[in-house]
Subunit: 331 residues, 2 copies
C-alpha cells in the first residue's frame, strides 16, 4: 500500500487549534486527555452517516461535514447538554485532496461555531462513511430524558416537520418546483439547525425531550415506550412550513393536501419533540418566543398506551409506516 | 427497507447491565450520561477496524469483537489510563443473527473483563467495519505521553515483537508449521493482551510511552518526533518469542535468521514501548518482574534526530519500510 505519511489524514487535515481550556491533550497522541469541569455530567452520542443511505452520494463534502456534526449536536440538544468535544472516524474510498479540504474546512467551521473541539480521530479506507461521537456537559438533574413524560403533559415540537424529507424526494425525483420551495427543503435536508441554545434553556422547565431523526411518529413513540404512556396528536396542529404547504397545494404535484405520511415519518427533521406539564408550558412558550423559534403544541400525553393520530374530523389517521427506515439505530 | 425494529441492534444485542456507578444513563436515550469522578482526567481513543484491511475476512466474530476492544485498551494503556466506558459504531453487510450473537457475546465478555461499560452505539449497513471509542480515567500528572522522552533515557519494550505479523503471514500463505508456532502467532494476532495493569502501575515511574500498533520502528519514531530526540536500538536486543525464532531457524522456511523487518515493522504487536531515565529503570524492571511480564531494554534515546538501528556488529541496519501500511491513522 501507499506510504503511511500520505494517510496521516487526521493530523494533516483535521488538527484544530486547541481553544478549549478543558482539553489537556488534543489530536496526536495515543489518547486525547480532557479535564472536565467538576460536578458536571457528560453526555455522549455516536452516529454513523453512510453515503447513499443517510445522504445522497452527490451531497457536497461541506454539507456532509456539517450534517455529520449537526446530527450529534441534535442528540446533545435533546438531552439539554452544552457541546464540548468530538471525535471523527472517517472511512474514505480514496484520498481526494479537494474533497478532504472542503470537508475538513466545513468540519472545522461547524465544530468551532458550536464550541465543539475535535480531540481525536481515525481514518480508514472503504466506502464513504462518517462516524462522529459528540460529547457535552450538563448540570446533574437538568437532563431531558425519554422516560420522563407523564399523563396530562402537553406535547410540543420546534420548527416545522417534513421539509427535509420533501427535499430528499425532490432531489431523487428531479421534480421542477419553485426555487423558494427547493431552497428551504434542501437547506433543512443538508443544513439542519440543532436546537442547542433553546434546549439548554428549556431543560430548566422541561424534563422530557427527543430529537426527531426518524420522524415524529417513531420518535414520539420512543418517548411513549420509555415513559409507558399514550398520546394523542392532531394532524391539523402539526407545524409545516409555508413552502411545504405551497408544494402540496399545487395541483401539478398530484394532490391537494399535505402528505401527512411524509410529515410524520419522513425523518431527518432534527427538531425537538418535548413534553411537559401544562403549568410549565407558558415558560417554554415564552422562551421560544424570546428566541424567535417556532414552537407548536401538537397534542397531549395520556395514561394508556400507543400513539393516536387524529385528523381534522378527529377521526384516527392510520400511518402505514412508522418511521424512515434507514437501517439505523441511535443508541 | 425492512422494519425498523429488526435493526434496533445495539439495544437488542448490546444493552449491557449497568454495573458502573458512574454511568447515570446507558444505552437507549439520545445520549448516554456519565458522572465522572471529581479530579480525574479523561483519556479517549477511537479506532476503526475494517474487514480485509485490519483483519482477514475469515476472522471469527468473537476474535473481531475482542480485538476491536483490545486495540482501544492498548491506547488507554499507553497513556496509563484506567478503562471506564466505550461506544460501538458497527457497520454490517447484513443481519446475520449467528454472527451477531457471537460478536456481541465476546464484546460483552471482553468489556466486562476490563471494566469497560458499553454506553452507546450506532449500527449501519455497509461493508463490515467496527469503530470503538474507548474512554478511561487517570490522575492529572500521571499520563504517559509521546513527547516526554529525554536524551539519555533507556528504551524498553514489553512482551515480544513480530508474532502477530508472522501469524498474519502464516494465515495468508497457508504455510505448514509446528502447531505451537501457529498457536502463539494466531493468539498474538487475534487476541493481543493490552498491558493495562502494568501500564497503570508503570505510569508512576515513567512519563513516556506509546503502544506498538504500526511496528516498533514507526511507533518509536512517533516518540522521537514528538520529543525531538534520536534513538539507537539494537537488533540483538529486540525481544522475539521462542516460537518466532524457531520458525526462522528452520531451513524449510527459507532463511536462517530472524526476519527483522517483520519484527520492526510488521505491526499489530500491541505491546508498549516506553522510555525513562536510567535511575528510574530499576523500579520499572522490578514492577514487570512482579507481574511476570517480559520487559526488555532495547536501546537509548539520544540528542540528535532519527532512529538508528544497529545489527550485531553495531553496523546500521537499513529498514526499507517503516511501518505496516494499512491506510490507518490513530489520532
Amino acid at each position: 500500500m501507499a506510504d503511511k505519511a500520505e494517510f496521516d489524514l487526521i493530523k494533516e487535515y483535521f488538527t484544530p487549534e486547541n481553544w478549549r481550556k478543558d482539553v489537556v491533550l488534543g489530536v496526536g497522541d495515543d489518547c486525547a486527555l480532557l479535564a472536565p469541569p467538576t460536578g458536571q455530567q457528560l453526555a455522549l452520542t455516536v452516529d454513523t452517516l453512510v453515503a447513499g443511505i443517510h445522504f445522497p452520494v452527490e451531497t457536497s463534502p461541506a454539507d456532509i461535514a456539517y450534517k455529520s456534526i449537526a446530527v450529534g449536536l441534535s442528540d446533545l440538544a435533546a438531552m439539554g447538554a452544552e457541546p464540548a468535544w468530538l471525535t471523527l472516524a472517517l472511512t474514505l474510498p480514496d484520498i481526494n485532496s479537494d474533497w478532504l479540504q472542503s470537508f475538513s474546512k466545513s468540519f472545522a467551521k461547524t465544530s468551532k461555531d458550536y464550541d465543539l473541539q475535535l480531540i481525536g480521530g481515525d481514518t480508514t479506507q472503504g466506502p464513504l462513511a462518517i462516524t462522529v461521537q459528540a460529547m457535552g456537559l450538563l448540570e446533574p438533574g437538568l437532563s431531558m430524558q425519554r422516560g420522563n413524560a407523564k399523563p396530562g403533559d402537553l406535547i410540543y415540537v420546534t420548527g416545522s416537520l417534513g421539509d427535509a424529507a420533501l427535499g430528499l424526494k425532490l432531489l431523487l425525483s428531479n421534480t421542477s418546483v419553485d426555487q423558494e420551495i427547493l431552497d428551504l427543503c434542501l437547506s433543512k435536508l443538508n443544513r439542519p439547525v440543532p436546537r442547542i441554545n433553546f434546549a439548554r434553556a428549556a431543560a430548566k422547565h422541561c424534563s422530557c425531550a427527543i430529537d426527531i431523526s426518524d420522524g415524529l411518529a417513531a420518535d414520539l413513540g420512543h418517548i411513549l415506550d420509555a415513559s409507558q404512556c399514550s398520546a394523542e396528536i392532531y394532524l391539523d396542529k402539526l407545524p409545516v412550513s409555508r413552502q411545504l404547504e405551497k408544494y402540496y397545494t399545487n395541483p401539478d404535484h398530484g394532490k391537494l393536501e399535505v402528505d401527512w405520511k411524509l410529515v410524520l415519518a419522513g425523518g431527518d427533521d432534527y427538531e425537538l419533540c418535548m413534553t411537559l406539564p401544562e403549568e410549565q408550558s407558558a415558560a417554554l412558550v415564552s422562551l421560544a418566543e424570546s428566541m424567535a423559534l417556532s414552537l407548536t403544541r401538537i397534542g397531549r400525553v395520556g395514561s394508556t398506551n400507543g400513539l393516536q393520530i387524529l385528523d381534522e374530523n378527529r377521526q384516527p389517521f392510520i400511518l402505514d409506516k412508522s418511521g424512515y427506515e434507514h437501517f439505523d439505530n441511535n443508541g
